[in-house]
Structures are given as C-alpha cells and as structure tokens.
C-alpha cells in the first residue's frame, strides 16, 4: 500500500568531505503527514542531510529513499518541494515567471498552472508583487518566494532549510501556519532549524544532530525526558523525600521540594497523598524543562562523550 511507504527513509546515510565527517550514519524514517524537526547548531550536518536526500550531493555511504524511490534518481524528486538555506531566484524574472518555470520542471498540467501559481503567491503574501522583478525584492520577500516555490504542485514531502532566517515575526508566524497547513494536507515536512521555538511550536518529532551525529530523537516529550518537574511548598510533615520518591527524583530545599520526572497525571495524587498525611500544601508549580535547556544539555553531553 502506497500509504505505508514513508516519505523519507534513510539508513546509515554518511557524508565525508575529505577528512571531515559532515554526516555520520543518519538512520531515520519520516512518515507522511509528519513534521520532522532536524535540530542542531550551525555546522552540525543539517544542510548536508537535506542535500543528500535531494540528490544535490552524493553520499559517501548509506542509502535513502524519498517516497520509496532511491535518492539520486530524478524520479525521487517528482513530488518534493525544497526551500534551500541559500535561497536565490533569477533576479531578472518576476515571481510569477519563476513559478511558471518550476511548474514546467515538475510537469504540472498546463490547465492548473496559473491557479496553482496564484494560490502559492497568495499563501506567501506575494500576490500583489507577482509581476515585479525578483531582483528588487528584500531577502525576506525572496524567502517567501522560495516558500511558494517549495509548496508548488502539492508536494508530498517538503524540505525547509532554516525557512525563517530572513523573516520578521509576522513572517515567522505565517511560516508556522503554512507548515501546519501542509501537515493537514498530509504532506511530510522536514524542517531544518536551529531556532528551538520554531521547532517546539510545530514539530511532531525531532532529531537533535551535532557534529554529524544524531544525539537524540523522538517526540518532544521523549526528548524532554518525559514527565515534568513539580515544585511544591509543603509544611507540617517530615520525611518528605522518602514520601515522594516513588513519584520521581526528589530534591528538597527547606520547605520547598522538587520532584522530577513526574507523570502529569500523578500531580493530583501527590497533592492528595500529602494532604492525607496531614501536610499543608502552599504551592504546586509544574515546570516543564524547556527545549532550549534540554538542547544545550544534549549538546554538552555529546561534546563530553566525544572528548572522553
């Protein structure tokens, strides 16, 4: 069944540039309709991964498939959209002409071309500039045009490499909406980013990559270690640590106690237990570790591992 073929599937995908290992054995699978965040600092290998998947660069080792077709074949890119990190479009053409050119490249039927072009330009907010020269555009407008190019022809997979790097807050918001709309339509989105908030707000799953290696991957909950930390202000009871240790890892500081790794379902039970033991509970503060903290933690752990 076609629906079972993942949008992106990579096995030990590796790329060396001389002695530099840009990507070290990337193995992953992105189902259709999923927003997959590829997160990492500059130079981590994010763009290399995208270029390999799109056949712009050839892998040193490993295999990968786009919509079931081996990468590197022109056919694998038939239903794929791409906004490069280095986005640039012919300066002497208008956005409508650039999109018409791409319509021909993806063999979009002539009868639907103009409608698709208008829809794409409307979505990215360039409809009123459709016939101006691209060379007169700001970087932000060129990036919007790049998004329109990437969405053209209802692709089944869209690669967005740092899609908001040139955009203002309004533009960033628009991009998030566009990405969510793509998911609703069943399109898989591979989002390369070093902007944690961007990833946190839209991605279903995330892989954190550093020095060409995936150091963590999974849903955001998986990455964030599952559960939350709960900070409680409790008086009137002794032996708090032993009382609470079955819910999670406990750190007590005077009248305040923090329990880490608590399932959110259990917070009410903790409070009920404390009250049943005669404690007075003055405050309950569930705290979610931010992706940023976790990201920095993962990168520093990866660095330590590499140094060891």
């Amino acid at each position: 069944m076609a629906g079972e073929v993942p949008a992106i599937h990579a096995v030990e995908l590796t790329k060396h540039y001389g002695h530099i290992e840009a990507l070290a054995g990337l193995t992953m699978s992105v189902p259709r309709g999923e927003i997959f965040g590829f997160l990492g600092p500059n130079g981590a290998g994010k763009t290399t991964a995208v270029k390999l998947l799109l056949g712009l660069t050839s892998p040193t080792a490993g295999d990968a498939w786009l919509l079931g077709e081996p990468i590197g074949r022109a056919g694998a890119r038939r239903h794929v959209g791409y906004l490069p990190e280095l986005f640039r479009y012919p300066a002497w053409l208008s956005p409508a002409e650039v999109l018409r050119f791409h319509c021909r490249l993806i063999d979009l039927p002539r009868t639907v071309r103009e409608d698709k072009i208008e829809a794409a330009l409307t979505t990215v907010g360039l409809r009123l500039r459709a016939n101006d020269r691209v060379g007169t555009f700001s970087k932000g407008m060129q990036q919007r045009l790049g998004l329109a190019v990437a969405m053209l022809g209802d692709p089944q997979v869209v690669f967005l490499d740092e899609p908001t790097s040139a955009l203002d807050p309004v533009g960033r918001h628009d991009v998030r909406e566009i990405i969510r709309a793509l998911r609703t339509r069943g399109t898989a989105v591979f989002l390369n980013s070093h902007l944690l908030t961007e990833v946190e707000q839209v991605c279903d799953r995330v892989a954190v990559v550093d020095h060409g290696r995936v150091v963590a991957s999974g849903t955001l909950d998986d990455i964030l270690g599952g559960g939350v930390a709960v900070r409680l202000h409790v008086t009137g009871v002794t032996g708090l640590a032993s009382l609470l240790c079955r819910w999670g890892q406990v750190v007590a500081e005077g009248e305040w106690v923090t329990v880490r790794g608590v399932d959110t379902e259990n917070i009410a039970d903790i409070v009920a237990e404390l009250v049943a033991r005669g404690a007075r509970v003055h405050a309950v503060e569930p705290q979610r570790q931010s992706l940023e903290d976790r990201f920095l933690e993962l990168l520093s752990a990866a660095d330590d591992g590499a140094a060891a």
Partner: protein
Amino acid sequence: MKALTIAMVTVREVSRRRLVLALVVLSAFAVALTGWGFSRLPGIRDHGVPITAADLTLVSSQLLIFVLFMFSAVLGLGAVMVASQSVSGEVESGQALAVLARPIRRAEVIVGKWLGLGALILVYAAVATTAEFLVVRWATGYLPPHPVEAAVFVAAEGLVLLTLTLLLSVGLSGITAGIIALMFFFITWIAGVAGAVGTVLNNGPIEAIGNISRMLLPSDGLWRGAIFNLEPATVVAVASGSREAAANPFTSLSPPAAAYLAWVAVWIVAIVGLTIAAFRRREL
C-alpha cells in the same frame, strides 16, 4: 523536454540583462557608423582619378572583413562573459539548488543552457551580419560572395567559445572561467597567425602550432572559414600568388576542409559531454 525549459528560461533571463541591451545598442551604432564610412568609399579619388569598380570591391571586401572581425570578437567575448557566469555563478549564489532539487537531470541543465545561450548567439550573429551586409551593399553595392556561409562561420565561432566556457564554468568561479576562456581564445588566434606565417616560410614546426591549436580550440579555424567566405574570388586569386598576403591574418586562401568541419562538430559534442560528466560530479 526539460532541457528546452532550461533553454527558454536562460534566453528570457539573459535577454533582460543590461549587458544584452548594451550589446544591441552598440552593435546598431557600429552598423550605422560603418555604413556611413562605407558610403564615403565610392567618392574616393586616387591621384584625382575616381576609384575603379575593382578597387572599390577590393577595399570594401577588406574593410568588411575587419568589421566582421570586430563583430565576431564581440560575439565571442559576449558568449564567454555570459557563459562563464551560467553554471558556477548559479551554484555559488544558490540559484541552482532549487532547480536541481526538481526531477531534472544535470545533463538536461547543461544541454538547456547550451541551447539557450547558443540560440542567443545565432540570433546575434544572424542579425548583426545581415544588417552589416545590407548596409555595405547599400553604401557601395558590394556584397560578399557567400554571406550566409560567412555568418554561419561567425556564429559557429561563438558556439565554440560558449562550449569551452560552459565546461570551465562547471568547476571554476565565473571570473576565472571567463579569463581562462578568453586567454585560450586569443592564444589560438595568435597561434593561427603564427601557423600561417609558418606555412609561408615553409617552417613545419611553426605551421604545426597553428594546426594543433585549431584542433584543440576551433575558434580561429572557424574565423578563417568566415574570412574565406567574405573574400571575392579576385582577392583570393591575387593573394594566392603573394607570400605576404598569404601570411596576412585577415586573408584565407582555402575554405576549411569538410573533415575539419566534422571535427568541429565532434569537438562540440565531446566538450558538452565532458561538461555534463563534470557537472554530474559537482557537489552542491
């Protein structure tokens, strides 16, 4: 089919650049200026005696060769400048990324660029030579013996330079590719002149320089073909008996051999093939 799409967008993009506008305006100006110059020729008096029809033909044909040399050089330089930016420029700027991520083969991109830029070269060669021939005919009544063939040779010279520059631009930055292509262009022209001198002096090694350079880069060989088609039979007959005339870089005593023209076709196909192979290996 995708190659045609690339060709069409290449034509559209290049033809909108100021470079092309400048080329068109200056070429029109050059045609007008040379037309005015040629129109003065019939009125020239040699020691008080009006110039003879034979002399008018001789002078007109020689001057026309010079003018066409200018046009062929402009065409060659223009081809080099535009082609040198076309592959590496687009790779470096990132423009190539969005295109090559489409279901298109790299061979189609190269063939498309060659066709698009080649079409522009053909149009320029056809329009510039036709305009010049018509103006000269109006001014002096002279028309070269084989105008169409001459124009084809001028265009082919441009195509050869385009082909070489596209190959260079796959691996080198635009400026480097352009400068190297221009150096090859001038070196083969000089080697061609040296070869002609070698022929006159019966010096085998010097003659070989001209022949080998014409094989490696056929631009000068094709220019010689253009000259031959611009020379009236009387000029060829007179020059054949003169050692000095035979060594003149603006004289050609024989048309290029059919085998040489076949070699040029093979050369173009081989270099385009090499360009495709190099582009396939290029990491983006």
